[in-house]
Symmetry: C2
Subunit: 222 residues, 2 copies
């Protein structure tokens, strides 16, 4: 259970203050399928980064399974993230000097999975995401949508209890996008909490619950 109470996040730019998130109250139960939609610049990525413990609020409280995690030190937040969360970034953040397969393997390495099992899991992930034949390519040798799919495979390979995806189909054609959504929804059916930011109305509408962000606030039903 993820509970955000009165979460605010502002940025300082010189003299000015920009309120990116204001008074966010949000409860997300384990296994939910939530979509977050809203105009460009409205605060969706900022909210997802708060939920993922990648960024700290400037006000408010974050309870994770009843525990206040708002003010934990960085290394503790990193441990919680690594053990519980998979994140697909809006711009992927792949490691440039590693191949697609090596990028996807990283969460397995961090979890101490043994080499033969790692190899098998990476091969399965690459096939599931439609990247057979591209596993040796580095990110700069991949198309935009291929990089996006490497990011998705990396985020999902450990079947984390919570999966956060920021625009996971933005660089994909209809058919490939469907393949990705099927993969994510299959994880959700097996109990993974799925929180997806998307600009695609058709995809956002598939979620069990939809929230809309405008100017840093949740509007309508949370």
């Amino acid at each position: 259970m993820i509970s955000l109470r009165g979460i605010c996040r502002h940025y300082r730019l010189g003299e000015q203050q920009l309120a990116a998130l204001t008074d966010i109250d949000l409860d997300i139960a384990q296994g939910e399928y939530l979509s977050i939609m809203g105009p460009s610049g409205s605060g969706k990525s900022t909210l997802l980064n708060q939920i993922a413990l990648l960024d700290r609020p400037t006000a408010g409280t974050y309870l994770l399974n009843g525990r206040d995690v708002t003010s934990l030190p960085d290394d503790e937040l990193a441990r919680i993230r690594r053990e519980n969360m998979g994140f697909v970034f809006q711009f992927f953040h792949l490691i440039p000097r590693l191949s697609a397969a090596e990028n996807i393997e990283i969460p397995l390495l961090l979890a101490g999975i043994d080499p033969s099992l790692r190899k098998r899991k990476v091969t399965e992930a690459i096939t599931a995401i439609g990247l057979a034949g591209r596993s040796a390519h580095r990110p700069d040798q991949l198309s935009g949508g291929e990089r996006q799919r490497v990011a998705i495979a990396r985020a999902t390979i450990m079947q984390p209890s919570t999966l956060l995806a920021d625009e996971p189909t933005g660089n994909l054609d209809q058919a490939t996008g469907k393949q990705v959504i099927d993969l994510l929804e299959d994880l959700n059916r097996r109990g993974v909490t799925l929180i997806m930011v998307t600009h695609d109305q058709a995809i956002g509408g598939r979620a069990g619950r939809r929230i809309r962000i405008v100017d840093g606030r949740i509007i309508g039903a949370g």
Copy 2:
């Protein structure tokens, strides 16, 4: 008039050769509105880079207004691009240490436009793309869709005779995407050749002419 004849582009990866484009024949008249669609990894960005003279073919001929530009030296290609083309990259390629306004200003600086006219044009471009209030932000202080719009403003500010856009609405909500497409189509109505790669069927369908790429080849009507 852009004429591609027998254009091929392969990549070498170790021992292997990957054919990204094969036997591309394509004529594009001045003022046309062309969309390029197809699966992720099919060669769309590679084709756009060929048309934009950002990349050289491994075989074939490129005639620009009847002149063979296939084997021109780099600095000559750069001059032709600068004087004739605007390019919106799939991942923007903004200059990290410059603000949004400074990024947008660059083509005006390269063209020797005087400071007061530059200032006015940048302000108009920023307003037209919906980024008022964000002009001083650097790219890392902007949302994904805001960066995309800076890239679009930079590509269009000199009203180049040819505009190439690689997934220009991939990070934008419906309303903001429409604002961008209106801007691009307005340029096209004034005589700018508009060549757009898109995964959005609705947007691709608006073009006067649609081509589809699969496995590096144009299929169906060119």
